[in-house]
């Protein structure tokens, strides 16, 4: 029997304080308790038994196809610079960044471009029948598909970068990051180069918290590549000019902490005589409570700064990057390698082996699941990301993206069974369990009423857009209300309502469509008129006239049926029809004119 933990006082405050008193290394000098939070079963040991398996290797081969969507980041889609049939080498640029705010895309392996077409992407949008047309547009992204040739060939003549980054200027380094097509690898995929361009950064926080259950990609990375992460952090620090750099890790990741700490110690002893300024690099342990790894949450825990609603952390002089991004920066600067692979956790109780893999971006999910031995009988859903903030893979050919840190093949033990959707939820009993766990100090129950009844002003006022969609409230709600779904829907409605440009666009599409319809109708009447006119003319010339003669497919002229009407009768009928058609056309014309007038 579980019980609701209303206070994490011991974990959040007392224990850190006591440990600090006893002089235990790593606990921050000032630790600010995060409100709320939950402590779900972590299931992390599942995927930490083995070391990271690299692709391609004996165990894990290259997939036959790599699917690379043009939008894996926040911002404008990348622009393809290759065409179907081209041969591309590994690390070759295949889609260029669309302007300053874009992110480039590189080939993870060598092969031929087999198509540039639509692919289905996982997105975190709720199913909303009224907006399905928008979602259809969002879900289907253009993707470049590479048929791999297995050679993994690097373009001949590609030079390795200058490895001594300490002599290169920050701008040069930032350019290197931009060229490598790096975007935030923890969640939203914000272009890293833009983030690094911010000025007046005081503190750099490297996020190694990884608080969601099941995911261990960052932990495995720190455990095995601590030196690269630290070096990457130092490069980032040089680019953004932060005075101090703090790495935040959840206190129960012992091996990762040891690895990082030993690298830092080593660095300190090396650097001390030469460069004392670089010494502002430290490790901070944070209590393991979900969701301490959220950007604003981590900043609050480690610095005590509350990022003002609607602002970004850079506005208060704090920059936050994940450890995976730090390592990507390291690889880009030291080895000149673009971002073409990432560490992803394959986990869940529907897999035979749970393990961390370093995979090519674009690898289909099915390839990885086959490798990990998926048991379809147990499988409920495949999630991209963790069980709390991840989203469902729309199908098993979905590729791994730059932001996919975990593939969770969930059995019934791990996640809610698929049938829960059709189950009605109970009414809110106002138990305030949700408010107790909300890390943003929202009141999810009142927000729920506002969102559900689409009281837009009330929702916004109550902080709808401060909700980080962490899902803690929905997990503890005894009425099983899908709270986050309601919030997401409300956010989407408000965003579309506010987005006048978007609205104008849809409006113009709609108007064009209407216009086309009316033009078609007028044309139709015109055609009818023409036809009738033609008929009249034929009668005038006195050709034998039957109904069949007037049909579109001419049949051999037949002898006029005995029951045929007289030419005069037919002529009258046709004239009446002409009058009708004229009237209809005029009516339509008037209507169109009227709408156009109204528009003007």
């Amino acid at each position: 029997m579980t019980h609701l933990r209303r206070s994490f006082f011991i974990t959040k405050t007392l224990k850190p304080w006591l440990l600090r008193l006893t002089g235990k290394a790593g606990w921050a000098t000032t630790l600010h308790a995060l409100p709320g939070g939950i402590a779900p079963a972590s299931h992390k040991t599942l995927s930490l038994q083995q070391k990271i398996i690299r692709m391609p290797s004996g165990e894990l081969g290259l997939p036959a196809q790599l699917i690379l969507p043009l939008r894996q980041h926040l911002g404008p889609d990348s622009v393809p610079v290759v065409s179907v049939g081209d041969y591309v080498y590994k690390n070759q640029l295949i889609a260029a960044a669309n302007g300053e705010k874009g992110v480039g895309l590189h080939a993870p392996s060598s092969g031929y471009i087999s198509s540039i077409s639509y692919a289905l992407l996982p997105t975190n949008e709720t199913h909303d029948p009224e907006r399905s047309w928008q979602q259809a547009l969002n879900r289907h992204q253009t993707a470049i598909v590479i048929d791999t040739d297995g050679k993994h060939a690097i373009q001949p003549g590609l030079l390795a970068a200058n490895s001594d980054w300490r002599v290169r200027s920050p701008d040069e380094l930032r350019q290197a990051v931009f060229d490598a097509g790096i975007c935030g690898m923890g969640g939203a995929g914000f272009p890293t180069a833009i983030k690094l361009g911010a000025s007046a950064i005081k503190t750099l926080i490297i996020n190694g918290a990884e608080c969601e259950p099941f995911i261990t990609a960052d932990e495995a990375l720190m455990r095995e590549h601590a030196a690269e992460v630290i070096e990457g952090a130092l490069i980032i620090q040089r680019i953004c000019g932060a005075q101090s750099c703090v790495i935040g890790i959840e206190a129960d990741k012992y091996q990762a902490i040891d690895a990082i700490q030993s690298v830092i110690n080593q660095l300190m002893t090396e650097l001390k005589p030469a460069n004392a300024g670089q010494a502002a690099l430290s490790l901070t342990l944070i209590p393991s409570i979900y969701p301490s790894g959220g950007e604003k949450q981590l900043i609050r825990i480690m610095t005590g700064i509350e990022v003002v609603s609607g602002k970004r952390p850079v506005d208060v002089g704090v920059l936050c990057h994940s450890v995976a991004t730090a390592r990507a920066v390291y690889k880009a600067v030291i080895a000149g390698e673009p971002l073409t692979s990432r560490i992803t956790t394959l986990t869940g109780h529907a897999l035979k082996t749970a393990v961390n893999v370093e995979v090519m971006i674009g690898t289909p999910v099915s390839h990885l699941l086959d490798f990990a031995g998926v048991q379809h009988a147990k499988l409920q859903r495949v999630l991209v990301g963790g069980p709390l903030m991840g989203y469902e893979a729309p199908d098993l050919d979905t590729p791994v993206l730059k932001t996919s840190n975990c593939l969770l093949a969930g059995s019934e033990r791990d996640i809610a069974a698929v049938v829960t959707q059709s189950k009605p939820h109970r009414d809110c009993i106002r138990c305030d369990f949700c408010a107790t766990v909300c890390p943003v100090k929202l009141q999810p129950q009142t927000l729920y009423f506002a969102a559900r009844h689409q009281h837009h002003d009330a929702s916004v006022e109550q902080g709808l857009f401060d909700c980080i969609e962490c899902g803690a409230c929905a997990v503890v709600c005894p009425s099983h209300i899908p709270l986050v779904n309601y919030y997401r829907e409300e956010k989407a409605v408000i965003r579309t309502d506010n987005d006048t440009a978007q609205q104008a666009y849809w409006q113009s599409l709609f108007e064009k469509h209407q216009q086309r319809l009316s033009v078609n109708a007028i044309d139709q009447q015109q055609r009818k008129l023409d036809k009738l006119q033609h008929k009249l003319e034929t009668i005038a010339v006195g050709e034998p006239l039957t109904k069949t003669a007037l049909t579109k497919t001419p049949v051999p002229p037949v002898v006029a049926p005995t029951a045929s009407k007289s030419a005069e009768q037919i002529k009258q009928e046709i004239e009446a029809a002409v009058a009708r058609a004229r009237a209809r056309k005029a009516e339509l014309q008037n209507k169109t004119d009227a709408t156009q007038d109204a528009d003007e």
């Binding site: 199913h127 999630l383 709390l388 009414d427 138990c431 408010a435 100090k441 899902g471 099983h480």
Partner: protein, 372 residues
């Protein structure tokens, strides 16, 4: 290729709690008090509980049917059982059956469904029913007829013996007397007093001290410490709820502290008869069931921590004031009903500030400046 449905979005983690689970926890927390109550005051409580629960379930089903909602789905939330149990604690054991029946009717229909069902009720249904009964049937609600009532009875009957239970049944269903071989006298030769729920307003024997000086242990019926022991078991149940996280500490804590502080302020040794000692206020009355079980009803109490503190303090003040200066028969239920009405306003004024928003004081200041 396996196509997987994508209708649901995150979180995908299984929900941890359920409404039936929460309600069952509350029922479990009431168990020690129920045992204690039956031990001291006889089977009358169980009879009331039986009547209220069965009738409650029936009524709930009917109302749900009438409202066109799935009956079983809503019955299975067990909330009506919690209401029934709380109401049964408030009814005097030995009151006729129709008291319990009309009580649960009022609670279910006027306390709950008139407002829209569980979670929408403005008043606590059990408290509303109890106060209505007090007004409607003051006579039946104030007499306590106990089968065996310690030293008062000529020939004490053990309330839990067969005789005692039979007497209790006769009390609840008066027509049983017509069939009885040895009919129970109409005016029970038992023990009639103001119910402990209706406080001993001006007479306050220091029962525990007395019991001890008389050489009784507190759990003996003859010690006449029944209501104190029931209060203690309510407190135990309340602590259990706190530990499970079903209720937060704010409301019970402030209610108890405010009542205790007020009682200590006004109490002068020697004036038990007028103000009652603080211990009397806490343990010899229904303060504790009110603080832990009725005031904490989530639907009718505010949701923010600050709001809860204010709400609890108001209840404490109202309880003490009504008890000492008011002329109503009961204070706890009335105090809670009165403050229930303030709850939406408190909620509005104390809505907590999300992180990253200006604090409440800052908001007030800017509003003030704008107005000036």
């Amino acid at each position: 290729m396996n196509n997987i449905s994508h209708k649901v979005s995150s979180p995908f983690l299984k929900p941890v709690f359920s409404v039936p689970g929460v309600m069952a926890t509350v029922l479990l927390a009431l168990l020690p008090a129920a045992i204690c109550y039956t031990w001291f005051f006889g089977a009358g409580f169980l009879i009331n509980l039986l009547i209220t629960s069965t009738l409650g379930l029936l009524l709930e089903a009917l109302v749900m049917r009438a409202r066109g909602k799935p009956v079983l789905f809503y019955l299975s939330d067990l909330s009506i059982l919690v209401t029934a149990a709380l109401l049964s604690f408030a009814l005097p054991p030995g009151s006729p059956w129709w008291i319990a029946a009309s009580g649960i009717f009022i609670a279910c229909v006027f306390g709950k469904h008139v407002f829209g069902g569980l979670g929408h009720n403005v008043f606590n249904p059990a408290a509303l029913a109890y106060v209505s009964l007090l007004i409607l049937f003051p006579l039946q609600m104030t007499g306590w007829y106990l089968p065996g009532s310690g030293s008062y009875a000529e020939a004490p009957i053990d309330p839990l013996s067969a005789d005692g239970i039979y007497t209790s049944l006769q009390l609840s269903f008066p027509w049983l007397r017509d069939f009885a071989l040895t009919p129970f006298p109409v005016r029970p030769d038992g023990f009639a007093t103001a119910t402990p729920l209706i406080e001993y307003k001006f007479a306050a024997p220091a029962r525990i001290l007395m019991a001890e000086s008389d050489g009784f242990t507190l759990w003996e019926r003859e010690a006449r410490t029944g209501w104190e022991m029931v209060s203690v078991s309510f407190a135990l149940g309340g602590l259990f709820l706190l530990w499970r996280g079903v209720i937060s500490w704010h409301i019970p804590f402030t209610v108890v502290v405010v009542v205790f502080v007020l009682a200590s302020l006004f109490y002068q040794p020697g004036q038990e008869a007028i103000f009652g000692s603080p211990w009397l206020h806490l343990f010899s009355t229904s303060t504790l069931i009110g603080a832990f079980f009725i005031a904490t009803d989530p639907a009718s109490s505010p949701s923010s921590a600050l709001g809860k503190l204010i709400y609890g303090a108001l209840i404490g003040i109202a309880m003490y004031s009504i008890r000492i200066w008011g002329s109503y028969l009961d204070s706890v239920a009335l105090a809670i009903l009165a403050v229930n009405m303030c709850s939406p306003l408190i909620d509005q004024l104390t809505a907590r500030t999300p992180l990253g928003h200006p604090s409440r004081i800052k908001r007030w200041l800017t509003a003030w400046k704008k107005a000036a």
